[in-house]
Amino acid sequence: MSAWADKSGRYWIALAGVLILFLAPFAISYWDQPFYLDVLMRLMILAIAAISLNLILGYGGMISLGHSVYIGIGAYAVGIPAYYDEYNGILQLLLALGGCGVFALLTGAICLRTRGAYFIMITLAFAQMMYFTFVSIEEYGGDDGLVIYARSDFGGLLDLENNVVLYYVILGCLLLALLLVHRIVNSHFGMVIRGTKSNELRMQTVGFPTFRYQLSCYVISGMLCGLAGWLMGNFTGFISPEMMDWTRSGELIAMVILGGPGSLFGPAVGAAIFILMETILSEITVYWHLYLGLLLILVAKFSGKGFGALVGRIRGAR
């Protein structure tokens, strides 16, 4: 209750953002600029991925440098069935969520035995193992990847081949991800996750077996990112191991840091800043990463709580 009152400004900005996203397809078709529909779809998909990473990184203190592996698994769950002419959307979605859940459970059970830099390195290692596994599978295109000729099929229910329908499905998933994370982090489970980030030894001495909660959180986060991967496979119509390369994971971390780790809307804002900078600046210069880096340094140095807090500080200083 009080949390909302304190952040009412942010709440209205978020509401405005959702409204803009909701109305954007009408404006885009009015001005006939389909390119921007693609930009927004990619932005929202990466926002879902960043939101899922924030659940473990921002709220749980588990810094994974291998999170994009779940985008890859989710996308291959579209691509591999499609390769065998299997386009059933329900099946592909279940494969994406199930595959990511199982991968997160198995690797998380090992990663979460470690802490700090070791955790970062071992998540990276598992993700790179998947990356090289898919590079080496010639059947599915190796590092050239696979073209997906048709999107997930939901019978007469949803026609994802229509870009506007896909757009609203992605928007719906984004809102679902936000709602899910909002409920989780404030629940009993979420308090355990945040408490463990704050002081793990204390959590154990008051009686929490922290490992099982952290592992569950890691699995939920992986599955949510798998949803983003499933959307990404449908959106791009092309999958390759490059989607799960560790530099992609680094970009997801950059989005979370830019937006503010441990805040609900932060990662979505971070993804928006990232994609908009990429879209606008890469028109002007191929060195657009330089400006992204400078912004990251500013955010890290002066706020540590994301772009919104940085703007707040600048306004407060005046």
Partner: protein, 249 residues
């Protein structure tokens, strides 16, 4: 003396050849404050860590309410009713005082795989937490951010967190460390009230506190227990005078 809550036999733990705790045995009953005293480096904090399960014992047995808990992990011991506080304040500094205590209480209300309803709306949890805060005298500070509270308030918050778990036995590692005279008096009153229905193991440097409230005292020197007895016996024990009390005059 009623039946012992906690029984420790021959508990030992060394770190690279140095015996931090060596062959320690003690018994603590319900309704009893058992103080452990000794000079710095005597192994008191190691003993608490061994009892709480943060360190594994090299040898020895710990029995709690007639169950062998020597191999239990820390969370399992806590859920049996063994609560501890830390010498160096250990809290959740991002949370409010109430959230700190409510989270401690939550550990004892079944599993926490509850993903949907906000924990802050759990009335029973909040009520229990508020009562624990009131008991230690922090009832008015419940909404304050724990990280911004004073040292004395942190000591009390630690006590409230331990109490919220509804413990049978408290392991208190210097609860009065760094407290002013008034705060110390309040803490002594609190401990006397708590011991009515619980067992308390108290590690404490302040001899005034120890001799005011301890029912039994164990003296540790260099990892070994050199004497156990009532405050009067300990005060008159020659070995203790020589090893420990003598230093303080």
């Amino acid at each position: 003396m009623s039946e012992p809550l906690l029984e420790v036999f021959g508990l030992s733990r060394s770190f690279g050849g140095i015996a931090a705790t060596s062959d320690v045995s003690l018994k603590i009953a319900r309704g009893e404050i058992h103080a452990v005293i000794g000079p710095n480096g005597a192994g008191k904090t190691t003993l608490v860590a061994l009892l709480a399960g943060e360190l594994a014992a090299d040898s020895g047995t710990i029995r709690f309410r007639e169950d062998d808990i020597t191999l239990d992990a820390t969370p399992a011991r806590a859920r049996r009713g063994l609560a501890r506080t830390f010498q160096v304040t250990s809290i959740f500094s991002e949370f409010s005082a109430l959230e700190n205590v409510a989270l401690a209480a939550q550990a004892h209300t079944g599993h926490s795989f509850r993903f949907w309803k906000p924990a802050a709306e759990d009335a029973a949890l909040r009520q229990g937490a508020l009562e624990a805060l009131q008991k230690v005298g922090l009832g008015d500070a419940s909404e304050r951010n724990a990280g911004e509270m004073s040292h004395g308030e942190h000591r009390l918050l630690e006590m409230a967190m331990a109490l919220a778990t509804n413990p049978v036995m408290l392991l208190l590692d210097e609860p009065a460390a760094g407290l002013g005279p008034e705060e110390t008096t309040a803490m002594v009153g609190l401990l006397q009230e708590l011991k009515q229905d619980k067992g308390v193991l108290l590690v404490e440097h302040d001899m005034d506190v120890v001799f005011a409230i301890a029912d039994r005292i164990t003296v540790m020197v260099s990892g070994k227990t050199i004497a156990t007895g009532s405050p009067a016996e300990i005060r008159n024990d020659d070995r203790v005078r020589k090893a420990y009390l003598g230093e303080e005059g």
